[in-house]
Amino acid sequence: AGGTLELLLAACGGNIATTPGSSTPGTAKIPDTGLMVPGQLQWGADYVDGAPYVFKDPTNPNNLIGFEVEIAAAMAKLMSAAPKMIETDYGKLEPALLANQFDFVMNGWEVTPDRQKTELFSDPYYRYGQQFVVRSDDSRYANLSTSSNVQLKDFEGLKVGTGTGFKAADYLATDAKVITRLYDGNLPMDDVKQKKIDAMLVDVPIAAYYVLGAGPAGKPDTALKPIGKPLYLDNYVVGINKANPHAQELLKEVNQAIAELKKNGALKKIYQEWSMWNDQQAEIGIS
């Protein structure tokens, strides 16, 4: 599949603004034979509601930024390829991947039993958890902080919001006594602030961006505060289409790149920059 496309793109590659990655001396060069278009690392993600993974820079909307943008750039550099984000609606990432519209998905992707049937997964590049966020002036949580012990059952009988399709939605569904609100697109920070719900449960990077002010225009949101340690730890991985003829090679190369980034401290730097660095990363070998 896509054979013609490859040839065509290769044939007229001259017109594409490619910036061949200059191989930095000192770092091991990783081959790029698994890529559909040589010299171009195409990854699928959704930037529309993608902060802080991949999104438009609020201070200069011309730029796409986000911690995964930086990871992809670093990986591409190792492979001497140009990174190219292929915008894909989050709900359609899976079919688009299976249709070989890009090399791999990298958009806070997790391993699920369903996905295992059709996808190969890389080594984890981030270990994330779920973070509760409440109003700062909520007297019920006045003496709780990120080091406190907060569990899902603490929110029984209360309203907790998260995004449609988020892993948190599944966890919330496990306790029927918690009243779950699922939001499509716009996350419920305002709803918490406007006292429409009591808390939200989101991935750590999201809480870091919206509450701790990790982004470029970021300043901490004093109206909200995260409470409790991250729960339900899981890994972000890169997803590759099993049916892609180069799947195995690509997997190997991606894993090599991730290992290299873990080793040379590039990942740690990125996570620190985005206020996402925490103790859990040691479990996947970043130190």
């Binding site: 599949a1 896509g2 054979g3 013609t4 496309l5 065509l8 793109l9 007229c12 017109n15 594409i16 603004a17 959704d46 930037y47 529309v48 509601d49 902060a51 802080p52 999104f55 438009k56 609020p58 201070t59 200069n60 909307p61 292929i86 915008e87 894909t88 609606d89 709900g91 359609k92 079919p95 688009a96 249709a99 519209q101 697109g185 716009n186 996350l187 920070m189 305002d190 602030k193 961006y209 919206y210 002010g213 982004g215 225009a217 970021g218 300043k219 949101d221």
Partner: protein, 283 residues
């Protein structure tokens, strides 16, 4: 409903006319307040304006092309519905009923992931084809990454709206007095001439208002192309708004996006009114 409120008296009117002036003042104040609202966010507005304009451009282009194609689909299917041949009628009716009965979102997926993938397997890729053509013309950078989504999105939109337009065209054609057919036939015009010269020109007058209504809903429905990863005005607005931390600024971006839709759609409803009155000249 000039019927419902007949001759109001001028004495009562004079009292109520004062309310008219109060209204004018209030209306002017409201517009000033809205302008001031935009002014307070002028920095954000200036920052995101180019992006909203670009999104609006995509929306307009998609809607315009879709509407033209939908008109063609609708006209063909309407003529099919009125055809003398049973098979043609059946196909046209089937098209209308199936397409109207299923959600547009599902149709979009079907075109993009169903038919699109099937054609890709056969070696047809709209993106590659367009890229190739534009390469020959030395400006393939004009072909957007989301070209595949736009291509199948436009097909799905126009196919869907073609079904609605079919019904509008059909009822418009049927609303022309039967006597007009008979008069034209008795003068010796053939069926094609009757349609082209007599029936359709008269049907257009009746068709225009619902046609524009559909155009307006099509413009708003074009945002569903988001599922095909097309970033048009609504998705552009979202992409600009969601990463914002300040809720008021975020709300302002939504308001500005809505204003763009208003700017696109409102002239269309004015145009309808204008055409309606212009066409009424002969009547």
């Amino acid at each position: 409903m000039h019927h419902a409120v007949p001759s109001s008296t001028s004495r009562r009117r004079s009292r109520l006319v004062i309310l008219d002036y109060i209204f004018y003042v209030a209306f002017a104040l409201a517009i000033c307040a809205f302008c001031y609202y935009i002014y307070t966010f002028r920095n954000t507005a200036l920052l995101i304006l180019p992006f909203l304009l670009q999104g609006a451009g995509v929306t307009i282009a998609i809607s315009l092309i879709s509407m033209i194609l939908a008109t063609i689909f609708g006209l063909l299917a309407a003529l099919g519905c009125l055809s003398r041949f049973k098979l043609v009628r059946l196909i046209a009716t089937l098209y209308v009923e199936l397409v109207r009965g299923t959600p547009l979102l599902v149709q979009l997926s079907m075109w993009y992931f169903g038919i699109g993938l099937f054609l890709a397997r056969l070696g047809f890729s709209p993106y590659a084809t367009a890229f190739q053509i534009m390469t020959v013309l030395q400006n393939n950078s004009l072909v957007p990454d989301m070209f595949n989504g736009i291509f199948y999105g436009i097909i799905a939109l126009s196919f869907n709206y073609g079904a609605y337009l079919t019904e509008i065209f059909r009822s418009g054609i049927l609303s022309v007095d039967k006597g007009q057919y008979e008069a034209a036939l008795s003068l010796g015009l053939n069926e094609g001439q009757v349609m082209r010269r007599i029936i359709i020109p008269q049907a257009i007058r009746i068709i225009i208002p619902p046609f524009t209504n559909n155009f307006i809903t099509l413009i708003q429905d074009s945002s569903l192309l988001a599922t095909l990863s097309v970033i048009e005005l609504e998705q552009q607005t979202f992409a600009l708004a969601f990463p914002l931390l300040d809720s008021n600024t975020k709300l302002f971006v939504f308001v500005l996006g809505a204003l763009f839709y208003l700017i696109i759609c409102y002239p269309l409803s004015r145009l309808t009114r204008y055409l309606e009155t212009r066409m009424a000249v002969a009547y």
